[in-house]
């Protein structure tokens, strides 16, 4: 395998994918959709999901009712399934929420409270906090991992080369959210951190092999050492991602909407994580070794 020799290709592929995701954000913003599809948990506001149970027209039937009752001139109203509706407004209190539901209940002859599937209300205080916390969690986890790997591998280059691809994975997943308009909510943080955990696990298996092979390797043949280590672990990398993808993919196809929204980024993230642990992490480590011009030696 010539992974290291072709490293420029791998880096380029990743950079293109990441740029596409990042570019989608300002394009989204210009189209008036917001850079990401922030759910109320991140943006603040109220969201209600109601089963209307019959045909309806958003602009003519639902919107006027929502505007009148909530006073929000620009509610976001979308379909959910055939006969369901999701209404997003600024944060409204429980009294107004009841009023709104009652109005629709009367209009569409809904069944008691049974057709009110879902109500979320998040004040702007909490949503700002959520965004901050997500970033903090990611940063703290990355730093702790960097410290742990540096300690276990006795070389900061391993730590850095393992953690940097995580940013790569996060950005690729972010691309799924920005291009696919997947709602950014609580699950977003969970999805990102799961991928970070998965990807670093994958990378460590490769690095572990490099660490082991290095002890017995000839001086100087860094490229051969890394390529050999990767080819020794690649079957395992692929098999593990297959077993993980099996469960997540089933979840995606059978799950309810919120599960689907969680499973999709995970699927992409696991593929990205597997890719980065093979094609990005080790080539990065190679670059770091060369950059420092530290002669490759047997002693770790």
């Amino acid at each position: 395998m010539n992974i290291i020799a072709k490293r420029k290709i791998w880096f380029t592929v990743s950079i293109i994918l990441i740029l596409a995701g990042l570019l989608a954000m300002p394009i989204n913003a210009m189209m008036g959709n917001g850079i990401l599809n922030f759910d109320v948990e991140f943006a603040g506001g109220t969201v209600m999901e109601i089963n209307i149970g019959q045909d309806f027209d958003i602009t003519n039937d639902i919107k006027p009712v929502v505007v009148e009752i909530t006073g929000d001139e620009n509610p976001q109203i979308s379909r959910s399934g055939e006969q369901g509706v999701v209404i997003k407004t600024k944060s409204i209190d429980s009294e107004t929420r009841t009023k709104l539901y009652d109005a629709l209940k009367e209009k569409y002859n809904l069944d008691g409270m049974n057709d009110l599937l879902n109500v979320d209300d998040v004040s702007p205080t909490i949503s700002t906090e959520m965004q901050l916390k997500a970033l903090q969690a990611l940063l703290i986890a990355s730093i702790l991992m960097l410290i742990y790997i540096t300690f276990r591998f006795k070389d900061w280059r391993f730590g850095l080369a393992a953690v940097l691809p995580l940013i790569h994975d996060v950005l690729i997943v972010l691309a799924v959210y920005s291009i696919g308009r997947v709602p950014v909510n609580n699950s977003f943080i969970a999805a990102i951190l799961t991928i970070v955990g998965y990807s670093i696990n994958d990378t460590i298996v490769v690095f572990d092999r490099i660490r082991e092979n290095r002890k017995a390797a000839k001086k100087g043949d860094l490229e051969g050492l890394i390529d050999r280590s990767i080819s020794q672990t690649i079957v395992r990398s692929i098999n593990t991602s297959v077993t993980t993808l099996l469960t997540i993919t089933v979840l995606y196809f059978l799950g309810v909407q919120s599960i689907k929204e969680f499973a999709l980024p995970l699927i992409v993230g696991i593929i990205a994580g597997t890719y980065s642990s093979i094609f990005i992490a080790s080539p990065l480590w190679y670059e770091f070794q060369n950059f420092h011009k530290k002669p490759f030696s047997k002693t770790a």
Partner: protein
């Protein structure tokens, strides 16, 4: 050989016991123990997103409330929930000035939120509109039934603390014969006329309707004895219908996913795959039992975390088996290859799992609600999978070898 025969019997026995243990664990996880399904899947506490219900987060509008004030507020909310018959509701403090309320299985979320109506603040207001006393100065409020000229009627008896006693004495003297209004959250709930100067620090509110209404009012006044307002910051509710379908579809997905993984391992790794499959079934049963025993709340992301962890649980075995194949390829004997496979794979498995645990730990530490539950199941999954993949698989594989499954080809040798 006699020695080999006794070894075979012994190994057969160990394997039998391991399979029985896995079967029993699986049974316990599936059915639970006893009538209460102790340790069983049915006994796992489900999050609101899986059974429907309301979650509300309140914040005290005071910068640094004391612990006593916060527990008083929690008690107050709990009291209201109990009176509203939301018996399964949970109230917990979150951070320094927030309170999280979880009410499972509610049909009408908006009504539940209004029932809690946690903004109650009691005020006594003078005819000029000045605040004489607030709920802070009320020590106790209870419903009493008095006999007034042969007619029994309900009243609410109030008892003030020393500060309240003084203020109330002054006010009743000043406004004798006039009306003092009692307001709860800016709504006048009672407007009694002052008939006498009250110096002993107690008062009776008259004309409060039926016994039940008096009970309600006493409770509300007592509840209003809060030093701050509680503002709802966030509320989330899931209809029971949606919750049930979320649970059912994820369970189905989980089952199919597990079966696919079991098949994959068996087809790709054959004999070791079978050992890994047994260990994986054990793993699933253990995770269910631990979740049931901890009585931690399982949420939708939590279910996803478990299903994800199943895929990752076999990873350790995949690493080990790949290693065993290599060792066999290098010409080692089966036994030596097995030992070397487990030994050499260990550092990768340990380091990989610890870094993933770091991510789960940070999530648990920083997250709230749903995220915490996800982090917990992920963490449990990682720890349990290390045990089943490293220890259980190894025990089973050893017995397979002892029982005569010795052809290296069965273990992936080329």
């Amino acid at each position: 050989m006699k020695g080999e025969k006794t070894m075979k019997v012994k190994s057969g026995l160990i394997l039998f016991l391991v399979v029985v243990l896995i079967g029993l664990t699986g049974g316990a996880a599936y059915f639970g123990i006893g009538e209460k399904h102790f340790l069983g899947a049915q006994n796992i506490r489900l999050g609101l997103d899986l059974q429907g219900g309301v979650n509300i987060v309140y914040e005290a509008d005071k910068q640094n409330p004391t612990d006593e004030e916060m527990s008083a507020a929690i008690e107050m909310i709990q009291g209201r929930l109990d009176r509203g018959n939301y018996t399964e509701a949970e109230v917990a403090r979150e951070g320094s000035r927030r309170i999280r309320v979880d009410i499972p299985g509610v049909e009408d979320p908006n009504k539940a939120i209004e029932d809690i109506g946690a903004t109650a603040q009691l005020q006594f207001i003078s005819p000029e509109g000045e605040v004489i006393l607030t709920g802070n100065e009320v020590k106790d409020a209870r419903r009493e039934v008095v006999n007034d000229n042969g007619i029994t009627k309900a009243v609410v008896a109030l008892e003030f603390n020393s500060k309240g006693k003084e203020a109330f004495a002054e006010a009743t003297e000043k406004y004798l014969g006039q009306v003092i209004m009692i307001a709860l959250d800016d709504t006048i709930i009672s407007a009694p006329k002052v008939n006498a100067v009250i110096t002993e620090g107690s008062a009776v509110i008259d004309g409060v309707g039926t016994v039940e209404e008096a009970d309600e009012l006493a409770a509300r006044i007592k509840a209003g004895a809060l030093p701050f307002k509680l503002t709802p910051l966030q509320s989330k509710s899931v209809g029971a219908k949606l919750g049930v379908s979320a649970l059912e579809s994820s369970l189905k997905a989980g089952l199919i996913g597990i079966i696919l993984v079991l098949l994959f391992m068996l087809v790709v790794y054959r004999v070791p795959g079978l050992a890994a499959d047994l260990a994986l079934i054990f793993y699933c049963a253990l995770v269910v039992i631990i979740l049931s025993a901890l009585q931690s709340t399982l949420t939708l992301p939590g279910v996803a975390g478990i299903i994800l962890s199943v895929g990752m649980a076999v990873d350790a075995n995949v690493i080990i088996f790949a290693r065993i194949q290599e060792e066999l390829g290098a010409g080692k004997t089966l036994r030596a290859a097995l030992d070397a496979g487990f030994k050499r794979a260990f550092s990768a498995i340990l380091d990989g799992n610890i870094t993933t645990l770091i991510a789960a730990g940070v999530l648990y530490w920083m997250g709230t609600g749903l995220i915490k539950s996800f982090a917990q199941t992920l963490g449990i999954g990682i720890l349990v999978s290390m045990f089943t993949a490293l220890v259980v698989t190894r025990i089973i594989l050893k017995q397979f070898v002892n029982l005569g499954l010795k052809n290296p080809k069965l273990y992936g040798a080329k």
